[in-house]
């Protein structure tokens, strides 16, 4: 289909004219290696179910239930981003279909590998403009034996976040639900989780709440109008400018529920030019140009 569009000079939008719904198999799950290889049309929820049977997970929890392909193409993440990163941090390899029909793989299925260009990372955030993602290998983590969420109400989120991040505690997630709230997730063995919660409470107070609290965070993230980035050290200033937002302070990312005066996501001119050059090398006829 891509090859035909390429020769005929047609345009295709991945996710609309061309979907990966048929590519929905989990090809391999090497539980002992904590890796898996899936087709890009697999829904995240389907994958998580299959992995949970083996006590494992993909440590990505964005709002909604995207396919793995969309997860990469849109570089989606949720609260677990704090500890485990974005798709680009967990992807090990990809198979792509270029606009002219060329099938190309990069990376591999092992957790460490520096052979060749890292096209698996390159397509993260590419919004379907560089190539169709057909197959993905991913790094997995064990499901935690226990988890607990701490909720802190505060009108001084900056100070609370600073003391948590400056401590030796290792939360899996840390969201500021601006204004007024902070959620912290601890995962691990029951004893270690309890100890971390107690230590965190000693530091910043707060009460234990149900895990469902994170759904609120994800819902607000999904409803956000804009995503902005900020230097993590400038959290206080950023919170000052935001009205309602879900903020991931360590990453320096905020999902704002209000329009922001200046959109700070803009790519520089040269970067745009560079992306355009890559795009036109991979897709000279502009099939995926959208």
């Amino acid at each position: 289909m891509l090859a035909a569009a390429h020769t005929e000079g047609r345009r295709l939008a991945i996710g609309e004219d061309l979907t990966t719904d048929g590519l929905d198999r989990i090809l391999e799950h090497e539980a002992g290696d904590l890796t898996c290889t899936v087709e890009a049309g697999v829904r995240l929820s389907t994958l998580q179910h299959a992995l949970a049977d083996h006590g494992q997970r993909l440590s990505l929890d964005p709002p909604g239930d995207p396919t793995v392909g969309a997860l990469l193409a849109r570089n989606l993440s949720g609260p677990l981003r704090h500890r485990f990163g974005a798709p680009r941090d967990l992807v090990l390899g990809v198979t792509l279909v270029l606009a002219d029909g060329t099938i190309a793989s990069a990376g591999g299925k092992v957790v460490k590998n520096v052979a060749g260009y890292d096209l698996a990372r390159l397509v993260c955030g590419s919004q379907g403009r560089l190539a169709l993602i057909a197959r993905v290998s991913l790094r997995l983590h064990p499901l935690p034996k226990a988890r607990q969420t701490l909720a802190i109400e505060t009108d001084d989120a900056g100070t609370v976040v600073r003391s948590l991040l400056g401590s030796q505690l290792q939360p899996s997630a840390l969201d500021v639900l601006h204004p007024g709230g902070i959620l912290v997730l601890f995962e691990g063995s029951p004893r270690a989780v309890a100890a971390q919660v107690a230590a965190a409470q000693g530091l910043v107070g707060g009460v234990e709440v149900d895990f469902g609290a994170w759904d609120v965070s994800r819902r607000r993230q999904a409803a956000a109008l804009e995503r902005i980035r900020f230097d993590p050290g400038l959290l206080e200033k950023t919170l000052h400018e935001l009205r309602n937002a879900v903020v991931r302070p360590a990453a320096g990312v905020a999902y704002s529920e209000n329009d922001m005066p200046s959109n700070r996501l803009l790519q520089g001119e040269i970067e745009k030019l560079l992306v355009e050059r890559i795009r036109s090398e991979l897709d000279p006829n502009g099939v995926l140009a959208a």
């Binding site: 981003r81 520096v114 890292d118 990372r121 590419s126 034996k145 971390q196 996501l265 970067e271 992306v275």
Partner: protein, 477 residues
């Protein structure tokens, strides 16, 4: 030449044949070429000026950090220009509030941790060469180290770079915050082996020092048993900070060199380091001990303070240098295998070693399946060819197991011709397209990473003592 002297100052342009010789190779000393000149710029603008001049006159150029690379990445092209980043060695900004540090590319890896250690932070990727290797080189190679299992590799710790493109344009990618808009160019640049441009400043993540660190050393009778313990630890959901293995030959060499006093008669030792919050580390340590015992460990030692820990690491850290005690020449391989296949691949290496009649020592990052088989040989007895065949056969065994050609040393010149064993023609052609988007004229570190017919007709030479080692600046830790 005159132009460069004017921009950089005459003392920062090297053309003396004797001095040029220092730059003829990196840690892979079998490949050598004398560059036309070496430029030592001191700023992004000066790098830009050199690259522009090269671009205008169609002269190939290569960036160089400390020259510790093990794949010939920094080897110049005869007649080309070497752009040494040695003078760009300043720490530009420490921003603890953001948990970031901004450095120039010539800063040595260990300097980063040194700069923030007193504040309770460290820079996580720790290649064994960290005393000398530069952050610029680390970025180019996506370097790893013993402590990357839990914390990730260089690519997980670079949040922004300034990059001088092969045509001299300058682009800023990322910054102190994560998840920039658009395709992950930063992820592409890290690990691109200096073929997509020259990095002139780098923003890195700083990691908070852990509450506790605990190190275990377990002695096993066979690598099979130790390998099984590695798989079991990973499968149990324990994520150590480091998980390293040494086999009988490398233990013996280490004993000869630095006498770390590892368990007598061990056919393999595992070094496991756990860090984090104390309760978790305690429980994980108990679990690791239990697993090791179940897998047949006959002795387990635990270190909880720095001194005891240094003692346990001593043998591992000296392993490469120690090989000199048991062989005149050796060749380091860098294959990766899925962790569950470690015992099988180690057995296969043993078989291959026997059929080739050459000894192979294994000291490696077991936790992420990254093998460093050391093929021992004596060039004077004409064993070079056989050593190379054996090294290749070991790589094939890694690839057959579903692994990779290289886990951290890079493709460079050394493995460019092996790339077709892991990637199809289409894959390689796609890499070529991406490269063209950056470097239409093929001037930026040509001949590396992607195989070319010209290159792949040649035969690489064996490992020899690296000039830095000879100078006493670096040792193979």
């Amino acid at each position: 030449m005159l132009e460069l002297s004017r921009v950089l100052g005459a003392e920062h342009v090297i053309t003396e044949p004797e001095q040029l010789r220092v730059y003829e190779c990196d840690g892979l000393t079998g490949h050598r070429a004398i560059p036309e000149l070496v430029a030592l710029p001191a700023s992004t603008e000066e790098v830009q000026a050199v690259v522009r001049a090269c671009h205008r006159d169609r002269i190939p150029f290569v960036a160089r950090g400390a020259g510790t690379g093990l794949s010939g990445g920094a080897t110049p092209l005869a007649g080309g220009v070497v752009i040494s980043l040695a003078r760009m060695n300043r720490i530009l900004e420490i921003d603890l509030g953001s948990q970031r540090i901004v450095v120039e590319p010539g800063v040595a890896n260990l300097e980063v941790t040194r700069a923030v250690a007193n504040d309770g932070y460290f820079y996580a990727p720790d290649p064994s060469s960290q005393q000398v290797c530069t952050i610029g080189g680390n970025v180019a190679e996506n370097s790893g180290g013993a402590h990357c299992l839990k914390n990730g590799f260089t690519v997980h710790h670079v949040t922004g770079v300034t990059l001088v493109l092969p045509d001299g344009e300058v682009v800023e990618l990322g910054g102190k915050s994560l998840d920039p808009e658009g395709p992950d160019l930063l992820g592409l640049i890290v690990g691109s082996e200096g073929t997509l441009g020259i990095v002139t400043s780098i923003t890195l993540r700083l990691v908070r020092s852990p509450e506790v660190v605990q190190t275990l050393l377990a002695g096993f009778e066979t690598t099979d048993a130790a390998g099984a313990a590695v798989s079991a630890i990973v499968a149990a959901g324990v994520l150590p900070a480091a998980l390293e293995m040494m086999d009988r030959l490398t233990i013996e060499a280490a004993e000869l060199a630095v006498a770390p006093g590892y368990p007598a008669g061990a056919g393999a030792v595992l070094l496991v380091e756990l860090d984090g919050v104390s309760d978790q580390v305690e429980e994980d340590a108990a679990e690791v001990e239990r697993i090791c015992a179940e897998c047949g460990a006959f002795e387990i030692r635990v270190a909880t303070n720095d001194l005891a820990r240094a003692l346990l690491w001593k043998g591992r850290k000296s392993a490469f240098a120690a090989m000199g005690r048991v062989a005149t020449d050796y060749y380091v391989q860098d294959g990766v295998v899925p962790r569950t296949r470690l015992p099988a691949v180690l057995r296969r290496i043993e078989e291959l070693s026997a059929t080739h009649g050459l000894r192979v020592g294994n000291v490696f990052h077991a936790g992420d399946g990254n093998l460093h088989p050391l093929v021992l040989y004596d060039a004077e007895r004409g064993e070079t060819e056989r050593a190379r065949d054996l090294a290749e056969a070991i790589l094939d065994a890694c690839l057959d197991a579903g692994g990779s050609l290289t886990g951290e040393h890079g493709v460079g010149m050394d493995k460019a011709c092996s790339m077709p064993r892991m990637f199809s023609e289409r894959d390689l052609e796609t890499f070529g397209r991406v490269r063209r988007a950056f470097d239409r004229d093929g001037l930026c570190n040509p001949g590396k990473v992607i195989p070319t017919p010209r290159l792949c007709g040649e035969v690489p030479g064996p490992y020899r003592v690296h000039p830095l080692e000879r100078m006493g600046v670096a040792e193979r830790l």
